[in-house]
Structure formats: C-alpha cells, structure tokens
Amino acid sequence: MDYLPNIIFAIALILGLGFFAKNVKKLKRNIMLGHDVDVSDNKSQRWKNMAMIALGQSKMVRRPIAGFLHVIVYVGFVIINIEVLEIIIDGLLGTHRVFSSIGPLYGILIGAFEILALLVFVSVVLFWIRRNVIKLQRFWKSEMTSWPKNDANFILYFEMVLMTLFLVMNATDTNFQDLNSGNIVSQFIAPWFDGFSETVLHTIERAAWWIHILGILVFLNYLYYSKHLHILLAFPNTYYGRLKPKGALNNLEAVTAEVKMMMDPNIDPFAAPEEGVEDDVPAKFGASDVQDLNWVQLLSAYTCTECGRCTSECPANQTGKKLSPRKIMMDTRDRLEEVGKNIDANNGEFKEDGKQLLDTYITREELWACTSCNACVEACPVSIDPLSIIIDMRRYLVMEQSAAPVELNNMMTNIENNGAPWPYNQMDRLNWKNE
C-alpha cells in the first residue's frame, strides 16, 4: 500500500502528458493543412530572432508596464519548472524534497522560487485588475466575446491558485520551516497555521502538493484550448517569422509563370505541357479558406495571445472601422479548429460544410479597410503577420471573384490602359517638365 501514492502519481502524469501529446499531434496536423512554404533560409538570423523576441522578450517590453509584469510571470514560469522537476521525482519515487541534498544551494533556489512565486502572484493580480477593473480598451473590443475574456481570466485565476498552493505547501512543511533556509516568503505565511496539529499540517501540506501538481497537469492540457498556447508556440513562430523588410509582399510564383508566358513571344500558348512537367498553376489564387493559407500563417493563428497590441495600433481600428488584425488571427484560428473537428468527425477527410474563412468569419469590409501600413506587424510581440492573410484574401477577391470595390477596379483599369492609377495618357508623363 505504501506505493499507492506513487502509482496514482505515475498514472496522473501519464494521463496528463498523454492527453497533451494527443492534442499536440492534432495541432500539428491542423497547422500542416496549410500550403508548404520554404522557411529553411537564413538559419542564424532565425535563431537570433527567436532568442531575442521569444526568449529575450524584446518586443514585450516596448509597452513597459505590461512588458515588465509579463517578464516576471515568464521568468517565474521558466524557473519554477526546476521545482516542478523536483515534485515529479518526489512523486514518482516517494521521496521528499529530493534536491535538498545539494546543501545550502537548495535554500537559495527555493528562496528564489518563493520570491518569484510572490512576484508572479502580484503581477497576475495586476493583470486581472487591468482587464477587469481598469478595463483597458484593447481587452474590450468587439472581437473579445465571452470566451476570449473568460479564457484570459481563467489563466490568471489558475496562476494565482498555483502560486498560492506552492507557498502554502512550503509554509506547512514543518521540517522545511525548521531549517529556516529558503523560506523567505513562506515564513510569513507559516504563522497563519499556528495551533494546527502536526497531522493537520501534514495533511494540508500533502493536499497543497497534490493539487499543485495536478493543477499543473490540468493547466498543461488547458493550453491547447486556450490563447495560452503562446507560451509554447511563440518560439517556433518567432523562428519562422518574416525576415524580409515589412514592405516586401511575396510574388506569387504561379502568376510569374503565367506573366512570363504572356510576355514571351516565343512561347506557344497552345502547346501541350511537356511530359512529366507538373502544372504548377494552383487551383485557386489567393485565399478564401484556411487551407489556402500557408502553414506559417496557421501556426501564427494558434500562437496569437489576443493581447490586442496589433489592433490598438491599427489606423483603421483606431478610427472606428471594422478591421481588427487580432480578429483576423482569431477568426483564422477558429475556422482552422472547425476544419480540424470536421476532419476528425469524418474519418480523416474534410467534408464540405458550406462555410469558409471569407464571409463566414472575415467580412470583405474588414479586408478592404486595411492600409497595409504594417503597424500590426510591428506591434506583435511574437512576430505574427496579419497583413499577409489580409493580402492573400484580397488576392482571392480580386483574381478569383473580380470583387474589388468599383473605385479600385477603375484604378486597375487605368493602370492597365495608361500605366498610371489615374486616367492620364502615358505620353503626358513628362509634361510636368515644361509646366
């Protein structure tokens, strides 16, 4: 019977990690529904971006208050994993504070964890106040419907509870308190439990220990369903993020082939394609659904934390227009999830559901309101490029549906006929010289 806790712990751990692994597999499958895109170039710059932006939080701190608080929670999360490692070893082997054998260093480590736990607790409370009391505008935009708002608060409650449990666990561990080494914060909590019997204290300590580690396992599995997924995906997303100048839109290769053919007098447009040469003209120009986007764009949709820095910088959104770059990312993610569930429900194949990203989720009005100014791209702390999705969807509207606003069609006709967006004759192009 002595081994019962160890066995229960092992089962919980296996279930928790197993379920998480299953969801990660699904996540990867969904992301891979996108087109392939070559991101194998410039590895050193990519590693550097990941180190600076994801690991170093360089873009988070551009908004100093949120950035500072975020860094605390982030460092706390990373460091406290050493503690989690100890908990897992203890849980599996039935030991108690297995790392304490390393001597005085243990006190320093646990002391640091305790300080961080307190700082994380305070930061999370401040985050909660920013969202729910101060009601910062960007957390209350129209796309922040009930789930995104609740999701954010659940995460904060979760972290508050986990930090509290960690400190209570230490405070009620009488042997640990007696050592008086590393109990920097918990020594002030310990007196709250004065007068409790040894047995009750031990029970509280064990309960806190168990709820803490089970809570972590539950939280791990909550990630997949939550914007909190960014704690994992921020790393690949910053690695695969764009390296070209922000103004450089990609040139569609399929179009290049067509244009070259149209311009080259030596090519016979009626000639049959050579044997073995693949017809690389895509079935569709631009994007009307998630499968038309590339996998980096889909990865970004899962990475988005809905922090709304993009939307608060967007000139269209600032002036009351419907476009919100955050909503573009949230819609892409929601639709991708829907497509994923559709595939799961239909034995691995997508069954037409009469919906798509365009119109069902993202309206044309939103797409046409974008000035392509790149403010959203600049603002994103994890290298998401909502503009690329907007442009791909405009491409679908224009090249597949000829559905540009009338004035833009006029502009395009002018370019085609006169080489200028206005109806002036190309032969008058140098008239300014003599005016």
């Binding site: 100048p245 070259k260 311009m263 405009r394 090249m399 370019i415 206005w422 192009r429 300014w432 010289k433």
Partner: protein
C-alpha cells in the same frame, strides 16, 4: 524658373552613348498629381544644383504596380513589374532614386525576384549622400527656428527602416524638429496606403488622415514635413478640414531644402 530645369531622359543619354549616375523614378503621383509635381520639380532643382547626372524614363515609365499588388491584383502587378524591368534592364540601370516611398519599396523589395536588381534610394537618402559628399549644401534660410514635425511614411519607415535621413535633412535647415505622439516605427498611417488612396474609406468614426493630422497639430508645428506624395495629399486635406491651412503648411523635405535656397 521652369525653363531652367534640366530633365534629360534615358533615351537621350542612350543616344549620346552615355550612362547617367542615377535614374530618377518620378512615379505616377510625381508625374500627374498637381501637388506632387511641385515636389518632383523641387527635387530636380536640387539635382541640377548639385550637378547630378540623372535621367528620367519619361514616357517609358509606367506605374510600378504597387496599388494593384496591394489591392490583390498580382497579375496586373507582375505585368507592370516585368514591363518596367525590361525597360530598365535594357538601359542597364544600376541605381534608382525616387521621391515616392511606394515606388521605392516595390522596386527595392519586390522587383528583384522578378529580375530587376537595382540599388534603390529614397530621395531623402540620396540628398543626404549629396550633402555628405559635399555636393550639396543646405542652409537654414527661411526655415531657421521653425517648428517642423516629420510624418513617417509607412512604406519608408516601418516597411524599410528609413527614419533618420529625412530627419537629418530637416535638422540641417536649423529647424526645430518636433516629434508627434506616434513617430518612427510607431508612426500612424496617413490613410492612403494599400490602395486606399484610390477609394472611399470604409465606414468608421473618422478618416485616418484626420486622426493623423490631429496628432501632427498637437505639437503645434509651423510645417508638417512629408516624404511621400500620397502622405502629402492626405495631410494637406487633413489640415484643410481642420481649417489650419493659413497657419500650417504641408511640405515635402525636398521642397523645404529647395525653398530654403530660393531655388
């Protein structure tokens, strides 16, 4: 004055068997828009003053395709791009300067993949090199001590990280450079980019150019400096809507420098 403008074309250079130092890509706005033509002429005056051997394509120039690409018409964009590249490659163009950040961005970033590889400079960058090489001198003149705020064009600033060249030129005028609430990488769009220039804005509380003009007026400038013909139009309209056109001018950096020297 205008009869003094020397504006040779590439065809003329070719006929003489010579190659100019740089191609001045005028752009559609610079060629046809009445306000932007003044910027074009101001820049040419500076090029003439500094004895730069430049040429324009004239009637052989065509739209870069920027508004077509950004509104989603990749076919039209590439048709324009390939045609322009053929013309420029035939003239063996190496270096291009333009006063339009949209042309600058497109030729610099999107033409190389289609076979057009050139060194591309924004006119503020080019003027800065002329200054550094001592080919051009800038005096404060009438702008000495004036409050000037610079509106960063998205396609020059955020899109290509050019923030300093226009500012250095303004400071050379011994003007007081004041920064808006949103500047440099946080600059606010004028509302014209992404082909918005050619259509009515979507419904909202206000137009983007009004918001941006309000930000500019907040710092109480004598002059709002721009480095893009489209920004210039949007800000000029904004100033008019705010009924400040008597007090605040919207000027291109090239115009400021040319005017300061009474060119």
């Amino acid at each position: 004055m205008s009869e003094l403008l020397k504006v040779p074309t590439m065809a003329e250079y070719m006929a003489q068997g010579k190659q100019p130092e740089v191609l001045f890509w005028v752009g559609c706005a610079g060629s046809f828009d009445d306000r932007a033509k003044k910027i074009t002429k101001a820049f040419v005056k500076l090029l003439n003053k500094a004895n730069v051997e430049f040429a324009v394509l004239g009637t052989e120039e065509s739209c870069t395709g920027d508004p077509a690409k950004r509104s989603g018409n990749e076919f039209l964009f590439q048709m324009q791009a390939v045609t322009n590249i053929e013309v420029m490659n035939a003239y063996e163009i190496k270096k291009i300067v333009t006063a339009c950040p949209h042309c600058f961005n497109t030729i610099k970033n999107e033409y190389p993949e289609l076979g057009g590889n050139y060194e591309v400079m924004h006119h503020t960058q080019f003027l800065k090199t002329l200054l550094d090489d001592g080919r051009l001198t800038i005096e404060g003149g009438k702008y000495k001590g004036k409050r000037i705020t610079f509106h960063d064009p998205c396609y020059l600033g955020r899109a290509n990280n050019v923030y300093e060249a226009p500012r250095e030129l303004i400071q050379k005028l011994e003007a007081e450079l004041v920064e808006m609430k949103n500047c440099k990488r946080n600059g606010l769009c004028c509302g014209a980019g992404g082909a918005q220039m050619f259509k009515e804005p979507e419904k909202g509380d206000k137009d983007v150019n009004i918001e941006r003009t309000e930000q500019a007026l907040e710092v109480k400038p004598d002059i709002i400096a721009a480095g893009c013909p489209f920004c210039n139009t949007m800000m000029t309209d904004g100033v008019k809507v705010k009924e400040q056109e008597g007090d605040v001018q919207v000027m291109d950096v090239a115009e400021l420098i040319a005017n300061a020297q009474d060119l």
